[in-house]
């Protein structure tokens, strides 16, 4: 039996919350807001520290590269010193493993707001087809819900949080309630030109950044291009700044437990959840929180880990796992990238081109799979421009001379000239596509390894199939076509079969979903259409875990919409005393 320590926290834990929410990212943040505003007493348990990008001690926005002694290099934080993710693919004391011959890189960000503090804010609705893929191509499974079920929530999320974009009437790229987009940058005009020449659809981006005020609490974008640093005036979407802080301000009964690593969901003799146990990172002791309802929002893999570690007489295979599917059907987006040198963009006049913290243009999936050797699609994201230098800027400063008949190398004044000559002349495109969810891509509990809190860790088993490899091959063909059409020189060589056509390692795109997938059949799914465990009616999962398929779209907007929908359902069920 576990020993609990008599401390202040134990006193607090004698309080019974209406809802205990594990995790404070997109899913947890939305549940916190909706449930607390309904008058429920809510505990939010977050593995990392409190975080507010407006706090001068935590703010990285508008810092200059020289304020970091490593000039923003990415050896400490994986996306560089100024990126607002506390964590990464590797975290000291919190290992994970993989089965032989497979690899999955697992990105975790432990902090209030989780990964929403640094994400790209690409805020896309899944389209009608994205919920019913099996009916279209016979692969994977259909969702038990359709676009029509989620649409009202997408609409509400758009209005609550704010997303810019444009009405385009593209069948599987539903329009929403958009703020107006910013004008394209110079290199983006070249990319538009190139894409149009080769028949690739290009539209204004859809990003959750406030190009226009939406309420009195949040600021308007001031175009520093640094959303990855989290916005100190809350003009971009982060779960802390846009959901949890406003919910607190509205007088919600919310207790935040930070630096608190959840071990398991606790259950009673009937097998119903009674709360969670967690380890405080501050004193390394274990505590217990009681709740009538438990909402898991720790991220797809962390929530699966918690459930699999919550073993009891009633739930010997882990909580809610009578189907055995928890951890299975894990899938991340596919990804491949390429860069090109655009001679027409040499010798640029400089001006403030920061714009918003992401591309101002976007390439949605534009083809018909019937004519292709892979199922599903991919979208493309672009980069380039007159960015702020950081570590790595100026490396191989004139290698591009090779393409304009000049000499590579040298030193002195000529180097300065070359740096300026090529500044802003390189652009890049990244493809992000849909991977088919498979039962044999999974995470499970490693029987041999625990983390520094004594919690058994995850072991991953993940491989790509030819579906994904062929998609990456096609991405590179597309990149080259667009670069050619814009008068560019594609850099590097096209990766061949031996390198999976440049396909990124699973997990690297950080869109992992599917580990507690939803469905109508309790034998084949962990959660129902309301993201409620089939086996335990007072436990819900509101992160990416319940996704049946991932679409070629970033998952956050759908996590938000589904979390809101589930929260409404919880309120309804509590009122009816069904849970």
């Amino acid at each position: 039996m576990k020993a609990y320590f008599l401390t202040m926290q134990i006193k607090e834990s004698s309080k019974v919350y209406d809802v205990v929410i594990v995790g404070s990212g997109a899913g947890g943040g939305m549940a916190t807001k909706v449930l607390s505003e309904a008058g429920l007493k809510v505990a939010v348990v977050e593995a990392g520290p409190y975080f507010d990008p407006a706090d001068p001690a935590q703010r990285t926005q508008l810092k200059w590269p020289w304020e970091s002694p490593r000039r923003g290099a990415s050896n400490i934080r994986p996306f560089g010193d100024f990126d607002s993710a506390y964590g990464g693919w590797e975290i000291d004391g919190e290992p994970y493993t993989s089965t032989e011959g497979t690899k999955f890189d697992w990105f975790r960000s432990h902090m209030l707001g989780g990964r929403t503090n640094h994400w790209g804010r690409i805020s896309l609705r899944f389209g009608p087809k994205d919920f019913k893929r099996r009916s279209i191509d016979g692969l994977g499974d259909d969702w038990p819900i359709s676009y029509e079920d989620v649409k009202p929530y997408y609409d509400k999320v758009d209005k609550l949080i704010g997303v810019f974009g444009t009405k385009e009437n593209i069948p599987n790229e539903p329009d929403g309630f958009f703020l107006p987009p910013p004008k394209p940058r110079l290199h983006e005009l070249f990319l538009i030109k190139g894409a149009k020449k080769v028949g690739v659809t290009v539209i204004p981006s859809r990003l959750s950044m406030l190009t226009k005020r939406i309420n009195e609490d949040r600021g308007v974008c001031f175009y520093c291009g640094q959303c990855s640093r989290a916005c100190s005036v809350y003009a971009d979407f982060s779960a802390g700044t846009c959901l949890i802080f406003p919910a607190q301000k509205a007088g919600g009964q919310i207790d935040l437990y930070v630096n608190s690593m959840v071990r398991e969901v606790l259950t009673n003799d009937e097998g119903k959840a009674t709360g969670v146990s967690y380890i405080s990172k501050d004193d390394r002791k274990e505590y217990e929180l009681k709740g009538k309802v438990v909402v898991l929002a720790a991220s797809a893999c962390s929530s699966a880990r918690i459930l699999l570690n919550s073993k009891s007489k009633q739930h010997p295979g882990g909580l809610g796992n009578s189907s055995g599917v928890i951890g299975k059907y894990l899938h991340d987006s596919t990804g491949a990238s390429r860069a090109a040198f655009i001679p027409d963009l040499m010798n640029r006049d400089t001006y403030n081109e920061d714009g918003v913290g992401g591309a101002h243009i976007y390439f949605p999936w534009w083809l018909d799979n019937a004519k292709l050797d892979f199922p599903r699609g991919y979208h493309m994201e672009v980069w380039g421009g007159l960015g702020m230098p950081s570590y790595g800027f100026g490396f191989n400063p004139n290698d591009l001379n090779e393409y304009i008949g000049e000499k590579v190398g040298g030193y002195g004044d000529q180097l300065r000239k070359d740096v300026k000559k090529f500044y802003g002349s390189v652009v890049g495109i990244s493809g992000r596509g849909e991977c088919i969810a498979r039962e044999d891509n999974y995470c499970e509990i490693d029987p041999n390894v625990v983390d520094e809190y004594g919690i058994p860790v995850l072991r991953f088993n993940y491989t790509w199939s030819d579906h994904e490899r062929n998609q990456a091959k096609h991405m590179h063909e597309t990149f080259e076509k667009i670069f050619d059409a814009m008068g560019g020189v594609t850099l590097g060589t096209r990766p061949g079969k031996e390198r999976d056509y440049g396909l990124a390692t699973p997990g690297r795109i950080i869109h992992e979903v599917g580990t507690t997938r939803m469905g109508n059949d309790p034998k084949k799914s962990a959660t129902n259409r309301y993201q409620q465990l089939h086996d335990v009616d007072n436990v819900f999962v509101v992160d990416g875990g319940p996704f049946v398929s991932q679409a070629d779209k970033n998952p956050t907007w759908t996590i938000l919409a589904l979390s809101w929908r589930t929260s409404d359902h919880i309120i309804d069920q509590l009122k009816k005393r069904n849970i």
Binding site: S84, T211, Y223, V408, G412
Partner: protein, 234 residues
């Protein structure tokens, strides 16, 4: 207070850095100090602060190595009529830090410096920094142009390339370097498209249909409202 002393007291006393830093405002002549890494002032976690402080308190290069790095710095980026040199921008201090932080730089840079001295000792019977300017240039010309370099100096070419990369990145991430480059952002702004003369220079134009959908910056602070079909009406 000397910065290194500050660090020592930080390590020993574990006092919040904010107190110490506000307790010793730099005098105007110490202004360059501000250009140097301002420890803990860029949103660090406690663990990150401790890592930075530890490295800043250690010394990797010896005096001769640092002197050689300084000479190389200013051969690679000498001052111009409008911009200071690499040493003016504090690049040797940056290189001292970065090899401690990104440790794979250590052996190639340290070994490369020895390679350099070995080469000039054979050719001129002197260490690199004691060579005349023309002798130094002669060696630079041997290793700074990869396509023309003789096979026997291939290691020197690799060293030069790595050192030049660190010098350039160290330089262009300072105020001095950023001003020289002409980067104009990292400050509040209202982006309203590419300047017309730039569009003209590069022979591109905005598509009027696309532009019509873009933000009207005059109305950016008016609270957004939509009709039921999602059309913005404010």
């Amino acid at each position: 207070m000397d910065r290194r002393d500050t660090l020592k007291s930080l390590l020993i006393g574990g006092i919040g850095s904010g107190l110490i830093l506000t307790g010793c405002q730099p005098s105007p002549e110490e202004k360059t100090l501000l250009e140097k890494p301002s420890e803990n002032q860029y949103g660090r976690t406690e663990k990150e602060k401790a890592h930075d402080a530890k490295l800043l308190g250690e010394k990797f290069f010896n005096d001769h190595e640092l002197a050689t790095i300084a000479v190389l710095c200013d051969l690679i980026l000498p001052a111009t009529s409008t911009a200071g040199s690499a040493t003016d921008a504090g690049v040797p201090e940056f290189i001292e830090f970065i090899v401690k932080d990104i440790t794979y730089h250590q052996t190639p840079i340290r070994g490369g410096l020895m390679w350099l001295d070995n080469r000039t000792n054979k050719q001129f019977d002197k260490n690199f920094i004691s060579c005349s300017a023309s002798q130094q240039k002669q060696l630079m010309d041997e290793i700074a142009w990869p396509d023309d370099a003789k096979p026997e100096v291939e290691q020197g070419v690799r060293f030069f390339t790595q050192m030049r990369n660190l010098v350039l990145t160290g330089y262009y991430t300072t105020r001095m370097g950023i001003d020289d480059l002409g980067y104009k952002g990292n400050m509040p702004n209202v982006w309203d498209g590419v300047p017309q003369e730039v569009l003209d220079k590069h022979g591109v134009a905005y598509d009027p249909e696309w532009l019509a959908k873009c933000v009207d910056q005059e109305k950016r602070t008016t609270i957004a409202q939509w009709d039921d079909e999602g059309n913005l009406i404010s």
